[in-house]
Symmetry: C2
Subunit: 427 residues, 2 copies
């Protein structure tokens, strides 16, 4: 009689899912990775696609290719629609069932509009490749329309960009737009001067990068200001429509006429959390994350693990940040836990080790916290570059990105400036 | 009083338009380039995007960037809807008028389905970036569905690819699909063997690459056969639907069950030809091309020039081939003609100089005719590579493509294997 291997099903091929499956490489298990995309996305660089520096394929690796040498693993392109918790199977949109002994949910999060889904058409978020190419098109179209237009008020609104939310994504996006308008497009237009563009960065708390130290927040704000970005803190977007954004400030209200608004504020965990809560009674936090046990499992269901942005995990009373290192460490932990269980060994509760954090603000500028050390400027930028190159090379030897960056750096160019899709019929 | 410069309006930023405007760089004219896309597309490599080897941005260059140093030139993102031949202005979709003294039309061609537009949803053509990413998604999805499926007949249809038309695009597409199924995806699947894929190349005339010599056609067919492509010549598609293609052969009929069909057969000139014919009475040929005078102008309208795929131009009784070199030479000629007229000099009629032609058939294999010399195999492939690198580097120093190719060549990989858009809801 042949022993049937322990079946692990991993839903989601982001950082959490990918590092979980890779850490199971030598385990005596049968792994199925299910993702509705056929590629792993290097999300921290998505803003570079949105701002024309990289192509989508340069920050994406086909999941099958990344995992093709891992003999105990198969990849399934599919969208999970339901979970049969009792029968231990996930159900795909096409009706097929994929049975599991252990289930790892790693479906991440999406943007949320603070209960105003009607703002979405006017304020693109940045979570997927399609989001990134949409932002890229809108950004470039704004300059094109201003060049073509004749009405000064309309032109001013076309050359005004608002980014809501000054976390790392918002800051990096604002910095890149600053660079595009002041540098990249400098010589490209005849009727307008791209450097006349107004860029507003709106943040609800009292400083940019609120999860960083006040010192680094200050450094980031200064770097943004040098790139022409107008930072507004303690400022809440109270209305977004096709003509712009209304912002509530500490001392009044402000209306910004802008045709292009980007959303980098709230996140909402993947809807799979809701489904799981309905089936198991597990609690969700305010952002829809699944409140997991100290070993990342679901209360009463040790066979279900939740990792990455979908996991609500408090450490020292604080939710862990929704960044790649959290997901990676949780993915590795989940793999270790499963292997420990197969050997009847106990595994210590999950503990996040914060190696540091980094955010770039345009060319030659970044803020960094590595271990206890905080620094900013060109040194932080070099650190950012070095660490991202390490990560990228680790996961798929994508040395070409390095060439692309070097090339863009020296030429001041962004080659991936494509407006695709049917823009003529767009609002 | 300031002399008003002669206004040249160029519609279309493909090879014809781009080489026309660049050849006018030092002319005492005011140039406006109008394109509905913000980029020039290196169309001969579009099949490499469709087959996951390159990213769209790698074969596209922002028009503004390419032309930003040309002081006498401005670029307008817009779609021409009409031409006021009497008032000498083109009218854009948004209603604005762009006046000209000389008009150059270079809007190219699109695919045509031999009077069967209803086939289009089932048989993607390959003319735009969106076409290429659509083909890429369909190609990869076919393998994904076969991996997921269980019904043998459905799986066989999912692993059957039909390419209609064996001109250079059809041959290159078929060769690349052969390579993908036999090589690139070799290790990526568990339930299927991608090498089991059937690839049919359907050609109406009695040989592949009918514009090449019979000797090269034979060499191309042999190379295709080695890659597993089944060539059917003297074969006409008589029906395309969601289940496959019906083909009329010399001696009967054949039905190919296939979920994925690509169209590389007929072309149809841009609809601007029809508009021009309505306004000027100029004749169109069967494919909708504008039958131009020996100097590429429209009869009775010397101020309107037509170049590239939109131009019907017979040389030695034959329509010139719809390839980049034709458009480039005609663009350069148009610029020369305009400058000659400004100096009151006569310009000799246009004459196409055929430098040769090249088509690749997968890795290490191509057919080439350079001047009077014909050859095939790895030497032809090296020539193809060399000439394409020269062209690419000439127009925008895109050395990165060279790195990408070298990388893919040695790793046998195609990194740009992204399925984008909403595939779950696709037929």
């Amino acid at each position: 009689m042949v022993a049937v291997a322990h079946r692990v099903v991993i839903v989601g091929g982001g950082f959490g899912g990918l590092y979980a499956v890779r850490s199971l490489k030598h385990a005596d298990v049968e792994v199925t990775v299910i993702d509705r995309r056929n590629f792993h996305l290097f999300q921290p660089l998505l803003y570079q696609v949105a701002t024309g520096a990289l192509s989508p394929a340069e920050i994406a690796a086909p999941l099958r290719y990344v995992l093709n040498r891992q003999k105990n693993t198969k990849v399934l392109l599919g969208e999970v629609e339901d979970i049969d918790v009792t029968g231990r199977a996930v159900i795909l949109k096409d009706g097929s069932r994929v049975p599991y002994d252990t289930l790892i949910l790693a479906t991440g999060s999406t943007h949320s509009y603070f209960g105003h889904p009607e703002w979405e058409p006017f304020a693109s978020g940045l979570k997927s490749v399609e989001d990134a190419t949409e932002i890229r098109s809108r950004l470039l179209l704004a300059f094109e329309r201003a060049e073509r237009g004749t009405d000064p008020a309309a032109r001013k609104a076309q050359l005004t960009f608002v980014i809501v939310g000054a976390g790392p994504t918002g800051v990096e996006l604002a910095g890149a737009i600053g660079e595009i308008s002041r540098d990249t497009l400098k010589k490209d237009f005849r009727a307008i001067n791209p450097a006349d563009a107004s860029i507003f960065l709106i943040e609800g708390t009292n400083r940019v990068l609120p999860t960083y130290s006040p010192k680094l927040s200050r450094a980031a704000e200064e770097a943004l200001t040098r790139l022409g970005v107008q930072v507004r803190t303690s400022a809440m977007a109270t209305m977004v429509d096709q003509d712009g954004v209304t912002v509530k400030l500490k001392d009044g209200e402000m209306r910004i006429a802008a045709t292009t608004v980007f959303w980098a504020a709230g996140v909402q965990a993947s809807p799979l959390g809701q489904i799981l809560a309905g089936k198991t009674g597990v609690k969700l936090d305010k952002a829809g994350r699944v409140c997991v046990e100290p070993d990342l499992s679901v209360a009463g269901h040790p066979e279900i693990l939740v990792i990455g942005d979908l996991a609500g995990f408090l450490q020292d009373g604080q939710q862990l940040p929704g960044v790649a290192p959290t997901a990676i460490q949780q993915g590795q932990y989940a793999a270790k836990l499963i292997q420990g269980r197969l050997r009847n060994e106990k595994t210590k509760p999950f503990h996040y080790f914060d190696k540091g954090s980094l955010a770039t603000i345009g060319r030659n500028s970044a803020v960094a916290k590595i271990g206890p050390v905080e620094f900013s400027g060109i040194l932080a930028w070099a650190a950012w570059l070095f660490i991202h190159i390490l990560y990228i090379v680790e996961f798929e030897s994508r040395l070409l990105i390095v060439f692309q960056w070097a090339y863009d750096y020296f030429t001041h160019n962004r080659g991936a400036r494509l407006i695709t899709g049917n823009w003529e019929n767009r609002s």
